[in-house]
């Protein structure tokens, strides 16, 4: 029975580092499956105008296809090229909460993320996505520096 690792990508350098670390781990484990995940930040409790609501489905499809083609597809391809069993997921939601939900859905044994790149005001008030994930996750989390 092999292991399954969920890699949280953010489209920045920290995601790249998480990818690199996951590959090192996977090699050591041997029989290991990798899942690359990208979460589009989205809150169901935000306020929108009529027109934004009417166009929401269209925008969502666009966001999903952009994230898939720009971030997930290249990541999955590079993992497969390196000889790993790999798949990818894009989902809307709160980053920490959604990565955790995905790990549960996928039956992942571990989540690997980069130290988050967000800074300043938001982090001081709400904490970073990474630290929120560490505090709420139901599987072990590896934070790559």
């Amino acid at each position: 029975m092999g292991m399954k690792l969920l890699i949280g990508l953010d489209g920045h350098g920290s995601g790249e580092r998480a990818m690199a670390h996951a590959q090192v781990l996977a090699k050591q484990i041997g029989d290991c499956e990798l899942v690359a995940a990208y979460v589009i930040e989205w809150s169901p409790y935000s306020f929108q105008t009529q027109e934004e609501n009417a166009e929401r489905h269209k925008r969502r499809e666009e966001e999903l296809s952009t994230a898939t083609s720009r971030i997930i597809d290249p990541a999955v391809k590079s993992l497969r090229d390196a000889g790993f069993a790999a798949s990818g997921i894009v989902r809307h939601g709160d980053v920490a909460e959604t990565l955790n939900t995905l790990a549960e859905e996928q039956g992942a044994d571990q989540i690997i993320v980069g130290r988050s790149s967000e800074g300043g005001f938001t982090r001081r008030i709400f904490g970073s996505a990474t630290s929120n994930l560490v505090m709420s996750a139901s599987v072990p989390v590896t934070v790559v520096v």
Binding site: P44, F47, Q50, T98
Partner: protein, 517 residues
């Protein structure tokens, strides 16, 4: 501008409506706009508010009350049975995480509310209490509670029969459920009703959704900086609205969408503080509301006067049965149209039962309405149409004075809130009106632009006219939407019943389950 007004006046005079107006040469632009407007809209207003033969009761109010009662009974008190479920839906307990990123139930509710919460809650309630006395509040609350069933029915239908276009955008509303629903049931005339509704919806958008807002926003600003001609406010507002709906400057709309809920919370918070400060009078105020509901306490028209005002202003404020919410809620992509119906039934509750009641209580407690100390009855003003108030205020000015009597600086905050509410309501209604317009004339850049320009022109007219004719026309236009909408819903409600039965069975047997633990 002057020639245009003269032309309209001449036309009005030809109908024998306002001949004396021509005699006065030295009228201001505002006066001219006002007189012309009153004359042109008069017959329409008179028809909508015609009394039920042999009584003083306007037939339109009866129409709304009967509809709300029918829906309440037909759906077995759906507004109370599914109240808890509605809250769970808004919290997202039943939302599939895989659908994240679509419009949520919360967002649809918030957007629809930002279109309804506004001047109806501030100025409309003051008008109701000013004319009908505190007793109007009782009937307003009752109308709000029953209106929840009307809203539930129309919003379920709105989602069920909306149009989805290949590019992923949606259009929905009464005109779509009228034409599609009637065809589905094999009934004739759906298309005709849809066209009628669309025409009235455009008038409603220009009236209650536009002129009334512009008018009261101007009254607020003038109340603070001193009196100046209304058309100036109108042009400024028209320019900003034009920038948003034509220029596509979304940032302005986005800012208001974010500030408006905050203003709503601030308003309710301030009302609560005033009630807390005067906690010893709350019992008395409720006493006035109940006593006034059944005796009138000497207001014009007595009990019936209070009742008419209560129901009228409730309908104007929460728009239940009007059909506008059905347009707003259609954007939600849900597998179960009825869930959107459940969510929408919270609107009249928040709008009328909570916020309107707050306003009414604050006005009653503030003592702005003058009573005769000997009899405890209200004293009517010189015209005899409404209750005498301190400083002869009415509409939003009365609410402002009532809040100001406890929190001296609140009128400034209220003025800002009114302007923002007015603005967000205009943006919402420009969308409703546009949907009706495109239903009639087809989607397309030019046809849309024509409507948007007309919409902006009416802002100027609304700001320049005086409150009386504007509020009459606004009411008449919005209620005429309800005439067509409710008529259609009577035929379509069995479809909603089927959905309700199927859904409640599946909810009971666990087929529909919560995603959140």
């Amino acid at each position: 501008m002057k020639n245009f007004s003269k032309l309209l006046l001449a036309q009005a005079a030809a109908f024998g409506l306002s001949a004396p107006a021509l005699a006065q040469e030295a009228m201001s632009i505002d006066q001219q706009v006002n007189q012309t407007f009153a004359a042109v809209t008069g017959p329409f207003v008179n028809f909508i508010f015609a009394p039920f033969p042999g009584t003083a009761f306007p037939w339109i109010v009866l129409w709304l009350v009967v509809a709300a009662s029918v829906f309440t009974v037909y759906f077995g008190l759906v507004q109370f049975r599914f109240f808890g479920h509605a809250i769970a839906l808004v919290k997202g307990d039943y939302s599939d995480p895989k659908d994240a990123g679509e419009v949520s139930h919360f967002q649809a509710l918030a957007t629809a509310l930002s279109g309804t919460v506004g001047l109806g809650n501030i100025a409309g309630v003051a008008v109701a209490v000013g004319i009908g006395g505190p007793g109007a509040t009782f009937w307003m609350i009752l109308a709000g509670l029953m209106g929840m069933a009307s809203k539930f029915t129309e919003c379920t239908l709105g989602v069920k029969y909306r149009n989805e276009y290949p590019d992923g955008t949606v259009s929905g509303g009464p005109m779509y459920y009228m034409s599609k629903g009637f065809t589905e049931l094999g009934l004739p005339g759906g298309k005709f009703l849809a066209v009628m509704f669309s025409v009235f919806c455009i008038l409603g958008a220009l009236g209650g959704g536009n002129m009334f807002q512009a008018n009261q926003a101007h009254a607020q600003i003038a109340g603070i900086v001193g009196d100046y001609p209304g058309w100036i406010t109108g042009i400024v507002f028209a320019a900003i609205v034009f920038a948003v709906i034509v220029g596509g400057i979304k940032s302005i709309a986005r800012v208001t969408e974010k500030v408006v809920p905050f203003m709503g919370i601030l308003y309710v918070g301030a009302a609560l503080i005033i009630l807390l400060v005067n906690y010893d009078k709350i019992g008395w105020a409720f006493g006035q509301i109940f006593a006034g509901a059944f005796t009138g306490l000497g207001v014009a028209g007595g009990l019936v006067g209070a009742l008419i005002q209560g129901f009228k202003r409730a309908a104007f404020s929460n728009e239940a049965g009007v059909g506008s919410a059905a347009i707003a809620h259609s954007a939600v992509r849900t597998k179960e149209p009825i869930t959107e119906g459940f969510v929408s039934l919270l609107e009249p509750l928040i709008d009328t039962v909570v916020i309107c009641t707050m306003t009414a209580l604050v006005i009653t407690i503030s003592g702005q309405l003058i009573t005769d100390p000997a009899t405890g009855q209200f004293i009517l003003n010189e015209a005899g149409g409404s209750i005498k108030t301190i400083g002869d205020t009415s509409g939003v000015a009365l609410t402002s004075a009532a809040f100001g009597s406890t929190i001296s600086w609140f009128p400034y905050v209220l003025a800002l809130a009114v302007v923002l509410f007015a603005f967000s309501t205009m943006i919402s209604w420009s969308y409703y009106g546009l949907k009706a317009w495109t239903y009639l004339f087809g989607e397309g850049k030019t046809t849309e632009l024509i409507f948007k320009v007309i919409f902006c022109i009416f802002i100027v007219i609304g700001a320049a006219a005086s409150l009386g004719p504007v509020i009459d026309f606004s009411d008449a236009a919005i209620f005429s939407m309800a005439v067509v909408n409710i008529f259609a819903i009577y035929f379509l409600m069995k479809i909603v019943k089927k959905e309700l039965n199927s859904y409640s069975t599946r909810l009971a047997n666990g087929e529909i389950r919560k995603f959140k633990k």
